[in-house]
Protein backbone atom coordinates (compact mmCIF):
# COMPACT_ATOMS: atom_id res chain seq x y z
CA UNK A 1 0.00 0.00 0.00
CA UNK A 2 2.69 2.46 1.02
CA UNK A 3 4.83 1.46 -1.92
CA UNK A 4 1.87 1.83 -4.30
CA UNK A 5 1.24 5.37 -3.05
CA UNK A 6 4.91 6.15 -3.40
CA UNK A 7 5.02 4.92 -6.99
CA UNK A 8 1.98 6.97 -7.92
CA UNK A 9 3.47 9.96 -6.12
CA UNK A 10 6.73 9.71 -8.06
CA UNK A 11 4.91 9.45 -11.39
CA UNK A 12 2.84 12.48 -10.37
CA UNK A 13 5.95 14.39 -9.30
CA UNK A 14 7.58 13.67 -12.65
CA UNK A 15 4.81 15.54 -14.52
CA UNK A 16 4.99 18.46 -12.10
CA UNK A 17 8.76 18.76 -12.47
CA UNK A 18 8.52 18.62 -16.23
CA UNK A 19 5.86 21.33 -16.15
CA UNK A 20 7.94 23.74 -14.12
CA UNK A 21 10.99 23.05 -16.24
CA UNK A 22 9.29 23.99 -19.49
CA UNK A 23 8.78 27.68 -18.86
CA UNK A 24 8.30 28.33 -22.56
CA UNK A 25 5.39 25.91 -22.55
CA UNK A 26 3.72 27.67 -19.62
CA UNK A 27 4.12 31.10 -21.18
CA UNK A 28 3.19 29.84 -24.65
CA UNK A 29 -0.05 28.32 -23.43
CA UNK A 30 -1.05 31.59 -21.75
CA UNK A 31 -1.05 33.46 -25.05
CA UNK A 32 -4.37 32.09 -26.23
CA UNK A 33 -6.37 32.79 -23.04
CA UNK A 34 -4.91 36.30 -22.92
CA UNK A 35 -6.05 36.92 -26.47
CA UNK A 36 -9.54 35.65 -25.71
CA UNK A 37 -9.84 37.86 -22.64
CA UNK A 38 -8.55 40.88 -24.49
CA UNK A 39 -10.29 40.53 -27.87
CA UNK A 40 -13.56 38.90 -26.83
CA UNK A 41 -13.78 40.20 -23.28
CA UNK A 42 -13.35 43.82 -24.28
CA UNK A 43 -14.62 43.44 -27.84
CA UNK A 44 -18.04 42.04 -27.00
CA UNK A 45 -18.36 43.86 -23.68
CA UNK A 46 -20.68 46.62 -24.90
CA UNK A 47 -22.91 44.34 -27.03
CA UNK A 48 -23.33 41.98 -24.10
CA UNK A 49 -24.18 44.84 -21.74
CA UNK A 50 -26.67 46.34 -24.21
CA UNK A 51 -28.42 42.97 -24.42
CA UNK A 52 -28.93 43.27 -20.70
CA UNK A 53 -26.60 40.38 -19.82
CA UNK A 54 -24.29 42.34 -17.55
CA UNK A 55 -20.48 42.29 -17.52
CA UNK A 56 -19.13 40.08 -20.33
CA UNK A 57 -15.63 39.83 -18.91
CA UNK A 58 -16.99 38.38 -15.69
CA UNK A 59 -19.06 35.97 -17.74
CA UNK A 60 -16.18 35.08 -20.07
CA UNK A 61 -13.45 34.50 -17.47
CA UNK A 62 -14.76 31.09 -16.24
CA UNK A 63 -15.06 30.05 -19.91
CA UNK A 64 -11.48 31.00 -20.65
CA UNK A 65 -10.32 29.25 -17.47
CA UNK A 66 -12.18 26.16 -18.72
CA UNK A 67 -10.53 26.54 -22.11
CA UNK A 68 -7.01 26.58 -20.72
CA UNK A 69 -7.85 23.56 -18.57
CA UNK A 70 -9.26 21.43 -21.37
CA UNK A 71 -6.35 22.22 -23.70
CA UNK A 72 -3.67 21.56 -21.10
CA UNK A 73 -5.43 18.46 -19.79
CA UNK A 74 -5.93 16.77 -23.15
CA UNK A 75 -2.34 17.52 -24.15
CA UNK A 76 -1.03 16.18 -20.84
CA UNK A 77 -3.00 12.99 -21.34
CA UNK A 78 -1.71 12.72 -24.87
CA UNK A 79 1.88 12.90 -23.66
CA UNK A 80 1.59 9.12 -23.62
CA UNK A 81 2.27 9.28 -27.36
CA UNK A 82 5.29 11.44 -26.75
CA UNK A 83 6.67 9.12 -24.07
CA UNK A 84 6.06 6.21 -26.34
CA UNK A 85 7.94 7.78 -29.23
CA UNK A 86 10.87 8.80 -27.03
CA UNK A 87 10.88 5.47 -25.27
CA UNK A 88 10.27 6.35 -21.64
CA UNK A 89 6.87 4.67 -21.66
CA UNK A 90 8.53 1.23 -21.98
CA UNK A 91 10.45 1.84 -18.78
CA UNK A 92 7.19 2.25 -16.87
CA UNK A 93 5.31 -0.49 -18.70
CA UNK A 94 7.72 -3.21 -17.56
CA UNK A 95 7.84 -2.01 -13.96
CA UNK A 96 6.37 -4.41 -11.40
CA UNK A 97 3.14 -2.52 -10.85
CA UNK A 98 -0.35 -2.66 -12.33
CA UNK A 99 -0.77 -0.51 -15.41
CA UNK A 100 -3.79 1.03 -13.75
CA UNK A 101 -1.48 2.62 -11.18
CA UNK A 102 0.80 3.96 -13.88
CA UNK A 103 -2.19 5.49 -15.59
CA UNK A 104 -3.46 6.98 -12.32
CA UNK A 105 -0.07 8.53 -11.52
CA UNK A 106 0.23 10.06 -14.95
CA UNK A 107 -3.36 11.27 -14.99
CA UNK A 108 -3.17 12.89 -11.54
CA UNK A 109 0.04 14.60 -12.65
CA UNK A 110 -1.50 15.87 -15.87
CA UNK A 111 -4.64 17.01 -14.07
CA UNK A 112 -2.61 18.89 -11.47
CA UNK A 113 -0.69 20.67 -14.20
CA UNK A 114 -3.92 21.60 -16.00
CA UNK A 115 -5.41 22.89 -12.73
CA UNK A 116 -2.36 25.07 -12.12
CA UNK A 117 -2.75 26.43 -15.61
CA UNK A 118 -6.41 27.21 -14.83
CA UNK A 119 -5.44 29.01 -11.63
CA UNK A 120 -2.85 31.09 -13.47
CA UNK A 121 -5.47 32.12 -16.04
CA UNK A 122 -7.87 33.01 -13.23
CA UNK A 123 -5.21 35.26 -11.67
CA UNK A 124 -4.53 36.83 -15.06
CA UNK A 125 -8.19 37.53 -15.65
CA UNK A 126 -8.23 39.48 -12.37
CA UNK A 127 -5.87 41.91 -14.06
CA UNK A 128 -8.42 42.29 -16.87
CA UNK A 129 -11.10 43.28 -14.43
CA UNK A 130 -12.64 39.96 -13.50
CA UNK A 131 -13.78 39.77 -9.88
CA UNK A 132 -15.30 36.74 -8.18
CA UNK A 133 -18.42 37.50 -6.15
CA UNK A 134 -17.24 35.68 -3.08
CA UNK A 135 -13.55 35.04 -2.47
CA UNK A 136 -14.36 32.08 -0.25
CA UNK A 137 -15.89 30.25 -3.17
CA UNK A 138 -12.63 30.41 -5.14
CA UNK A 139 -11.40 27.38 -3.24
CA UNK A 140 -14.25 25.05 -4.26
CA UNK A 141 -13.92 26.52 -7.77
CA UNK A 142 -10.35 25.22 -7.85
CA UNK A 143 -11.78 21.85 -6.82
CA UNK A 144 -14.12 21.95 -9.82
CA UNK A 145 -11.15 22.87 -12.03
CA UNK A 146 -9.34 19.79 -10.83
CA UNK A 147 -12.35 17.59 -11.57
CA UNK A 148 -12.60 19.01 -15.11
CA UNK A 149 -8.84 18.55 -15.53
CA UNK A 150 -9.04 14.94 -14.39
CA UNK A 151 -11.86 14.24 -16.81
CA UNK A 152 -10.03 15.59 -19.84
CA UNK A 153 -6.61 14.19 -18.93
CA UNK A 154 -8.23 10.75 -18.88
CA UNK A 155 -9.81 11.49 -22.24
CA UNK A 156 -6.39 12.49 -23.59
CA UNK A 157 -4.85 9.28 -22.25
CA UNK A 158 -7.61 7.25 -23.85
CA UNK A 159 -7.15 8.92 -27.22
CA UNK A 160 -3.37 8.59 -27.02
CA UNK A 161 -3.60 4.88 -26.26
CA UNK A 162 -5.53 4.43 -29.49
CA UNK A 163 -3.17 6.44 -31.69
CA UNK A 164 0.15 5.14 -32.96
CA UNK A 165 1.92 8.43 -33.42
CA UNK A 166 1.48 12.18 -33.57
CA UNK A 167 -0.11 11.89 -37.04
CA UNK A 168 -3.63 11.91 -35.63
CA UNK A 169 -2.94 14.93 -33.49
CA UNK A 170 -4.40 17.56 -35.82
CA UNK A 171 -7.47 15.40 -36.24
CA UNK A 172 -8.02 15.28 -32.49
CA UNK A 173 -7.54 19.03 -32.26
CA UNK A 174 -10.06 19.86 -34.97
CA UNK A 175 -12.68 17.22 -34.34
CA UNK A 176 -12.52 16.74 -30.59
CA UNK A 177 -10.90 19.57 -28.63
CA UNK A 178 -12.21 22.53 -30.64
CA UNK A 179 -15.84 21.34 -30.74
CA UNK A 180 -15.72 20.49 -27.04
CA UNK A 181 -14.57 24.00 -26.33
CA UNK A 182 -16.79 25.98 -28.69
CA UNK A 183 -19.99 24.05 -27.88
CA UNK A 184 -19.52 24.26 -24.13
CA UNK A 185 -21.02 27.67 -23.53
CA UNK A 186 -17.58 29.01 -22.65
CA UNK A 187 -18.21 32.05 -24.82
CA UNK A 188 -22.02 32.42 -24.77
CA UNK A 189 -24.87 31.97 -22.27
CA UNK A 190 -26.67 28.62 -22.38
CA UNK A 191 -30.07 30.30 -21.95
CA UNK A 192 -32.31 30.55 -24.98
CA UNK A 193 -30.09 28.61 -27.42
CA UNK A 194 -31.46 27.08 -30.64
CA UNK A 195 -32.48 23.47 -29.95
CA UNK A 196 -29.56 21.80 -31.76
CA UNK A 197 -26.94 23.91 -30.02
CA UNK A 198 -28.64 23.38 -26.67
CA UNK A 199 -28.51 19.62 -27.16
CA UNK A 200 -24.87 19.67 -28.23
CA UNK A 201 -24.00 21.77 -25.22
CA UNK A 202 -25.81 19.31 -23.00
CA UNK A 203 -23.75 16.42 -24.37
CA UNK A 204 -20.48 18.29 -23.90
CA UNK A 205 -19.04 17.56 -20.44
CA UNK A 206 -17.08 20.81 -20.47
CA UNK A 207 -20.43 22.71 -20.35
CA UNK A 208 -21.03 21.40 -16.86
CA UNK A 209 -17.53 22.30 -15.73
CA UNK A 210 -17.81 25.87 -16.92
CA UNK A 211 -21.35 26.10 -15.60
CA UNK A 212 -20.17 25.02 -12.15
CA UNK A 213 -17.37 27.59 -12.26
CA UNK A 214 -19.91 30.29 -13.13
CA UNK A 215 -22.13 29.28 -10.21
CA UNK A 216 -19.21 29.50 -7.81
CA UNK A 217 -17.45 32.54 -9.21
CA UNK A 218 -20.23 34.82 -10.52
CA UNK A 219 -23.35 33.15 -9.15
CA UNK A 220 -24.86 32.58 -12.61
CA UNK A 221 -25.33 28.94 -13.56
CA UNK A 222 -27.70 27.32 -15.98
CA UNK A 223 -27.94 23.63 -15.04
CA UNK A 224 -27.44 24.12 -11.33
CA UNK A 225 -24.43 23.15 -9.22
CA UNK A 226 -25.89 19.79 -8.14
CA UNK A 227 -26.41 18.63 -11.73
CA UNK A 228 -23.02 20.00 -12.76
CA UNK A 229 -21.14 18.10 -10.07
CA UNK A 230 -23.12 14.89 -10.57
CA UNK A 231 -22.48 14.87 -14.33
CA UNK A 232 -18.82 15.84 -13.96
CA UNK A 233 -18.16 13.13 -11.37
CA UNK A 234 -19.94 10.43 -13.34
CA UNK A 235 -18.20 11.30 -16.62
CA UNK A 236 -14.83 11.60 -14.87
CA UNK A 237 -15.22 8.14 -13.36
CA UNK A 238 -16.25 6.70 -16.72
CA UNK A 239 -13.30 8.32 -18.52
CA UNK A 240 -10.75 7.29 -15.90
CA UNK A 241 -12.03 3.75 -16.23
CA UNK A 242 -11.99 3.84 -20.05
CA UNK A 243 -8.57 5.48 -20.05
CA UNK A 244 -7.28 2.68 -17.84
CA UNK A 245 -8.81 0.00 -20.07
CA UNK A 246 -7.17 1.40 -23.20
CA UNK A 247 -3.90 2.13 -21.45
CA UNK A 248 -3.71 -1.47 -20.24
CA UNK A 249 -3.97 -2.73 -23.81
CA UNK A 250 -1.07 -0.63 -24.99
CA UNK A 251 1.76 -2.47 -26.73
CA UNK A 252 5.13 -0.98 -27.52
Amino acid sequence: MKSTMQKIYFLWLRQIKKYFRSRSRIIGSLGQPLLFLLALGYGFGSVFAQAGQGNYLNFLAPGVIGMSIIFTAIFSGMEVIWDRQFGFLKETLVAPMPRFHIMIGRTLGGATVATMQGVIVMLLSLAFGFHPLNWWLVLPAVGVMFLVALLFTSLGTMVASLLDDMQGFQLIMNFLVMPLFFLSGALFPLQGLPALLAILARIDPLSYGIDALRVLLINAGHYGLGTDLAVLSAVTLAFVWLGAVFFRRLQV
Binding site: S3, Q6, K7, F10, L11, R14, K17, K18, R21, S22, D83, F86, G87, F88, K90, E91, T92, L93, V94, A95, P96, M97, P98, Q251, V252
Partner: protein, 266 residues
Protein backbone atom coordinates in the same frame (compact mmCIF):
# COMPACT_ATOMS: atom_id res chain seq x y z
CA UNK B 1 19.56 -26.72 -13.07
CA UNK B 2 16.21 -25.03 -12.69
CA UNK B 3 14.62 -23.67 -15.87
CA UNK B 4 14.30 -19.90 -15.67
CA UNK B 5 13.07 -19.02 -19.16
CA UNK B 6 11.10 -21.45 -21.27
CA UNK B 7 9.90 -20.56 -24.76
CA UNK B 8 7.82 -22.90 -26.91
CA UNK B 9 6.90 -22.30 -30.56
CA UNK B 10 6.79 -18.57 -30.13
CA UNK B 11 5.36 -16.68 -33.11
CA UNK B 12 4.86 -12.96 -33.67
CA UNK B 13 3.30 -11.50 -36.78
CA UNK B 14 3.02 -7.82 -37.66
CA UNK B 15 0.50 -7.77 -40.49
CA UNK B 16 2.09 -10.01 -43.10
CA UNK B 17 5.58 -9.84 -41.60
CA UNK B 18 6.46 -12.82 -39.45
CA UNK B 19 9.05 -11.33 -37.12
CA UNK B 20 9.38 -14.42 -34.90
CA UNK B 21 8.59 -17.72 -36.50
CA UNK B 22 8.27 -20.65 -34.11
CA UNK B 23 11.11 -20.11 -31.67
CA UNK B 24 11.72 -22.60 -28.82
CA UNK B 25 14.49 -22.65 -26.24
CA UNK B 26 15.20 -22.93 -22.53
CA UNK B 27 17.52 -20.95 -20.30
CA UNK B 28 18.54 -22.34 -16.95
CA UNK B 29 18.73 -20.42 -13.66
CA UNK B 30 22.08 -18.65 -13.38
CA UNK B 31 22.91 -19.20 -17.02
CA UNK B 32 24.34 -16.58 -19.36
CA UNK B 33 22.59 -16.88 -22.70
CA UNK B 34 23.10 -14.85 -25.90
CA UNK B 35 21.01 -14.21 -28.95
CA UNK B 36 22.94 -13.55 -32.15
CA UNK B 37 21.38 -12.65 -35.45
CA UNK B 38 21.47 -10.17 -38.31
CA UNK B 39 19.41 -6.96 -38.21
CA UNK B 40 15.72 -7.69 -38.29
CA UNK B 41 16.18 -11.32 -37.26
CA UNK B 42 13.59 -11.02 -34.50
CA UNK B 43 15.78 -10.66 -31.39
CA UNK B 44 14.16 -7.55 -29.98
CA UNK B 45 10.69 -8.80 -30.82
CA UNK B 46 11.37 -12.00 -28.87
CA UNK B 47 12.62 -10.01 -25.89
CA UNK B 48 9.54 -7.77 -26.02
CA UNK B 49 7.30 -10.82 -25.85
CA UNK B 50 9.29 -12.22 -22.93
CA UNK B 51 8.99 -8.93 -21.06
CA UNK B 52 5.21 -8.32 -21.43
CA UNK B 53 5.63 -5.46 -23.92
CA UNK B 54 4.15 -7.42 -26.82
CA UNK B 55 1.66 -10.23 -26.77
CA UNK B 56 2.65 -13.30 -28.81
CA UNK B 57 0.64 -14.30 -31.87
CA UNK B 58 1.15 -17.93 -30.86
CA UNK B 59 3.23 -20.05 -28.56
CA UNK B 60 3.99 -19.97 -24.87
CA UNK B 61 6.51 -18.40 -22.54
CA UNK B 62 7.27 -18.91 -18.88
CA UNK B 63 9.60 -16.84 -16.74
CA UNK B 64 10.52 -18.54 -13.50
CA UNK B 65 7.34 -20.56 -13.90
CA UNK B 66 5.10 -17.54 -14.55
CA UNK B 67 3.28 -16.92 -17.82
CA UNK B 68 3.82 -13.25 -18.74
CA UNK B 69 0.66 -13.21 -20.85
CA UNK B 70 -1.59 -14.52 -18.13
CA UNK B 71 0.03 -12.88 -15.14
CA UNK B 72 2.07 -9.92 -16.39
CA UNK B 73 2.36 -8.23 -13.01
CA UNK B 74 3.95 -11.24 -11.36
CA UNK B 75 6.18 -11.90 -14.35
CA UNK B 76 7.47 -8.32 -14.17
CA UNK B 77 8.73 -8.93 -10.65
CA UNK B 78 11.21 -11.48 -11.92
CA UNK B 79 13.15 -9.48 -14.48
CA UNK B 80 14.94 -6.25 -15.33
CA UNK B 81 15.69 -5.02 -18.81
CA UNK B 82 18.06 -2.73 -20.66
CA UNK B 83 16.36 -1.79 -23.91
CA UNK B 84 18.01 -1.51 -27.29
CA UNK B 85 16.52 1.91 -27.94
CA UNK B 86 16.36 4.88 -25.57
CA UNK B 87 13.97 4.75 -22.62
CA UNK B 88 15.18 7.60 -20.39
CA UNK B 89 13.19 10.69 -19.56
CA UNK B 90 15.20 13.47 -21.19
CA UNK B 91 13.55 16.18 -19.10
CA UNK B 92 14.69 14.66 -15.82
CA UNK B 93 18.20 14.62 -14.41
CA UNK B 94 20.33 11.49 -14.31
CA UNK B 95 19.72 11.17 -10.58
CA UNK B 96 15.96 11.62 -10.96
CA UNK B 97 15.86 8.92 -13.62
CA UNK B 98 17.66 6.57 -11.24
CA UNK B 99 15.42 7.43 -8.30
CA UNK B 100 12.22 7.02 -10.26
CA UNK B 101 13.38 3.62 -11.46
CA UNK B 102 14.29 2.58 -7.94
CA UNK B 103 10.86 3.55 -6.64
CA UNK B 104 8.99 1.83 -9.46
CA UNK B 105 11.03 -1.33 -8.89
CA UNK B 106 10.59 -1.43 -5.11
CA UNK B 107 14.21 -0.74 -4.18
CA UNK B 108 14.19 0.54 -0.55
CA UNK B 109 15.28 4.17 -0.15
CA UNK B 110 18.62 3.49 1.56
CA UNK B 111 19.63 0.95 -1.04
CA UNK B 112 18.36 3.18 -3.83
CA UNK B 113 20.68 5.96 -2.72
CA UNK B 114 23.67 3.74 -2.01
CA UNK B 115 23.47 1.73 -5.21
CA UNK B 116 22.47 4.76 -7.26
CA UNK B 117 25.60 6.56 -6.14
CA UNK B 118 27.76 3.51 -6.66
CA UNK B 119 26.43 2.87 -10.16
CA UNK B 120 26.71 6.48 -11.28
CA UNK B 121 30.34 6.47 -10.13
CA UNK B 122 30.75 3.24 -11.94
CA UNK B 123 29.59 4.66 -15.28
CA UNK B 124 31.40 7.96 -14.66
CA UNK B 125 28.28 10.08 -14.42
CA UNK B 126 28.34 10.97 -10.73
CA UNK B 127 29.63 14.50 -11.43
CA UNK B 128 26.83 14.97 -13.96
CA UNK B 129 24.06 13.50 -11.81
CA UNK B 130 22.10 16.76 -11.59
CA UNK B 131 22.24 17.53 -15.30
CA UNK B 132 19.19 17.01 -17.46
CA UNK B 133 19.56 13.90 -19.56
CA UNK B 134 18.84 15.86 -22.74
CA UNK B 135 22.24 17.53 -22.30
CA UNK B 136 24.02 14.16 -22.37
CA UNK B 137 25.90 12.68 -25.32
CA UNK B 138 24.64 9.46 -26.88
CA UNK B 139 27.23 7.35 -25.05
CA UNK B 140 26.48 9.01 -21.73
CA UNK B 141 22.79 8.27 -22.15
CA UNK B 142 23.63 4.67 -22.92
CA UNK B 143 25.75 4.44 -19.76
CA UNK B 144 22.92 5.87 -17.72
CA UNK B 145 20.51 3.32 -19.17
CA UNK B 146 22.84 0.56 -18.06
CA UNK B 147 23.36 1.99 -14.59
CA UNK B 148 19.62 2.36 -14.19
CA UNK B 149 18.98 -1.17 -15.39
CA UNK B 150 21.32 -2.51 -12.68
CA UNK B 151 19.75 -0.55 -9.82
CA UNK B 152 17.52 -3.39 -8.80
CA UNK B 153 18.61 -7.01 -8.64
CA UNK B 154 16.02 -9.27 -10.28
CA UNK B 155 16.36 -12.97 -11.06
CA UNK B 156 16.67 -12.38 -14.79
CA UNK B 157 18.25 -9.47 -16.62
CA UNK B 158 17.52 -8.94 -20.30
CA UNK B 159 20.01 -6.80 -22.16
CA UNK B 160 19.16 -5.91 -25.75
CA UNK B 161 22.44 -4.82 -27.39
CA UNK B 162 23.56 -3.22 -24.14
CA UNK B 163 27.03 -2.33 -25.43
CA UNK B 164 25.82 -0.50 -28.52
CA UNK B 165 27.72 2.77 -28.73
CA UNK B 166 29.76 2.24 -25.56
CA UNK B 167 33.50 2.77 -25.38
CA UNK B 168 35.60 -0.35 -24.66
CA UNK B 169 36.35 0.76 -21.08
CA UNK B 170 32.69 0.98 -20.17
CA UNK B 171 31.91 -2.18 -22.07
CA UNK B 172 34.47 -4.19 -20.12
CA UNK B 173 33.45 -2.72 -16.81
CA UNK B 174 29.81 -3.46 -17.51
CA UNK B 175 30.49 -7.10 -18.28
CA UNK B 176 32.65 -7.45 -15.19
CA UNK B 177 29.81 -6.11 -13.08
CA UNK B 178 27.27 -8.40 -14.71
CA UNK B 179 29.45 -11.49 -14.31
CA UNK B 180 29.97 -10.63 -10.68
CA UNK B 181 26.21 -10.33 -10.26
CA UNK B 182 25.76 -13.63 -12.04
CA UNK B 183 28.31 -15.31 -9.78
CA UNK B 184 27.21 -13.79 -6.49
CA UNK B 185 23.44 -13.70 -6.87
CA UNK B 186 22.94 -16.35 -9.51
CA UNK B 187 21.28 -13.82 -11.82
CA UNK B 188 20.27 -15.24 -15.18
CA UNK B 189 21.54 -13.08 -18.04
CA UNK B 190 19.93 -12.96 -21.47
CA UNK B 191 21.58 -10.63 -23.95
CA UNK B 192 21.79 -9.82 -27.63
CA UNK B 193 24.82 -8.39 -29.34
CA UNK B 194 26.45 -7.89 -32.71
CA UNK B 195 29.95 -8.24 -31.22
CA UNK B 196 31.02 -11.84 -31.73
CA UNK B 197 33.92 -11.72 -29.29
CA UNK B 198 31.53 -10.50 -26.62
CA UNK B 199 29.16 -13.40 -27.14
CA UNK B 200 32.06 -15.86 -27.18
CA UNK B 201 33.70 -14.46 -24.07
CA UNK B 202 30.58 -13.95 -21.95
CA UNK B 203 27.83 -16.35 -22.98
CA UNK B 204 27.70 -19.97 -21.93
CA UNK B 205 25.25 -20.77 -24.71
CA UNK B 206 24.41 -18.91 -27.89
CA UNK B 207 21.33 -19.09 -30.09
CA UNK B 208 21.73 -17.90 -33.67
CA UNK B 209 18.48 -16.53 -35.01
CA UNK B 210 17.68 -15.50 -38.58
CA UNK B 211 14.39 -14.58 -40.25
CA UNK B 212 12.62 -15.31 -36.98
CA UNK B 213 13.93 -18.86 -36.63
CA UNK B 214 16.65 -20.29 -34.41
CA UNK B 215 19.09 -21.88 -36.84
CA UNK B 216 21.71 -23.04 -34.34
CA UNK B 217 22.03 -23.29 -30.57
CA UNK B 218 24.99 -24.29 -28.42
CA UNK B 219 28.23 -23.09 -26.86
CA UNK B 220 30.62 -21.08 -29.00
CA UNK B 221 32.82 -24.17 -29.31
CA UNK B 222 29.88 -26.28 -30.44
CA UNK B 223 28.84 -23.73 -33.05
CA UNK B 224 32.36 -23.62 -34.44
CA UNK B 225 32.56 -27.38 -34.53
CA UNK B 226 29.16 -27.68 -36.17
CA UNK B 227 30.12 -25.27 -38.95
CA UNK B 228 33.77 -26.41 -39.15
CA UNK B 229 35.02 -22.87 -38.72
CA UNK B 230 37.80 -21.36 -36.65
CA UNK B 231 36.05 -18.33 -35.18
CA UNK B 232 32.55 -17.55 -33.98
CA UNK B 233 32.35 -14.81 -36.59
CA UNK B 234 32.98 -17.35 -39.35
CA UNK B 235 30.50 -19.72 -37.78
CA UNK B 236 27.93 -16.94 -37.67
CA UNK B 237 28.54 -15.95 -41.28
CA UNK B 238 28.43 -19.53 -42.42
CA UNK B 239 25.10 -20.01 -40.61
CA UNK B 240 23.37 -16.77 -41.58
CA UNK B 241 25.13 -16.40 -44.92
CA UNK B 242 23.73 -19.73 -45.96
CA UNK B 243 20.12 -18.59 -45.54
CA UNK B 244 20.77 -15.50 -47.63
CA UNK B 245 22.02 -17.71 -50.44
CA UNK B 246 18.89 -19.83 -50.23
CA UNK B 247 16.73 -16.78 -50.59
CA UNK B 248 18.51 -15.42 -53.63
CA UNK B 249 16.28 -17.78 -55.57
CA UNK B 250 13.77 -14.99 -55.30
CA UNK B 251 15.61 -11.66 -55.51
CA UNK B 252 12.39 -9.61 -55.48
CA UNK B 253 11.41 -11.12 -52.15
CA UNK B 254 14.89 -10.47 -50.80
CA UNK B 255 14.73 -6.84 -51.83
CA UNK B 256 11.35 -6.47 -50.18
CA UNK B 257 12.59 -8.03 -46.97
CA UNK B 258 15.60 -5.76 -46.96
CA UNK B 259 13.39 -2.74 -47.44
CA UNK B 260 11.11 -3.73 -44.63
CA UNK B 261 14.04 -4.27 -42.39
CA UNK B 262 15.40 -0.85 -43.20
CA UNK B 263 12.01 0.68 -42.63
CA UNK B 264 11.23 -0.88 -39.29
CA UNK B 265 14.48 -2.32 -37.97
CA UNK B 266 15.53 -0.93 -34.66
Amino acid sequence: MKTMIEVKNLVKRFGDITAVDGVSFKVGGGEIFAFLGPNGAGKSTTIKMLTTLLSPTRGSVTLDGVDPVRDPERARRSFGIVFQDPSLDDDLTAWENMQLHGVLYDVPAAERNRRGQELLWFVDLWERRDDLVKRFSGGMKRRLEIARGLLHHPKIIFLDEPTLGLDPQTRNRMWEYLRELNRKEGTTLFFTTHYMEEAERIAQRIAVIDHGKIIALGSAAQLKRQTKTASLEDAFLSLTGHSIREESADPALDAMRAMRRRGFGH
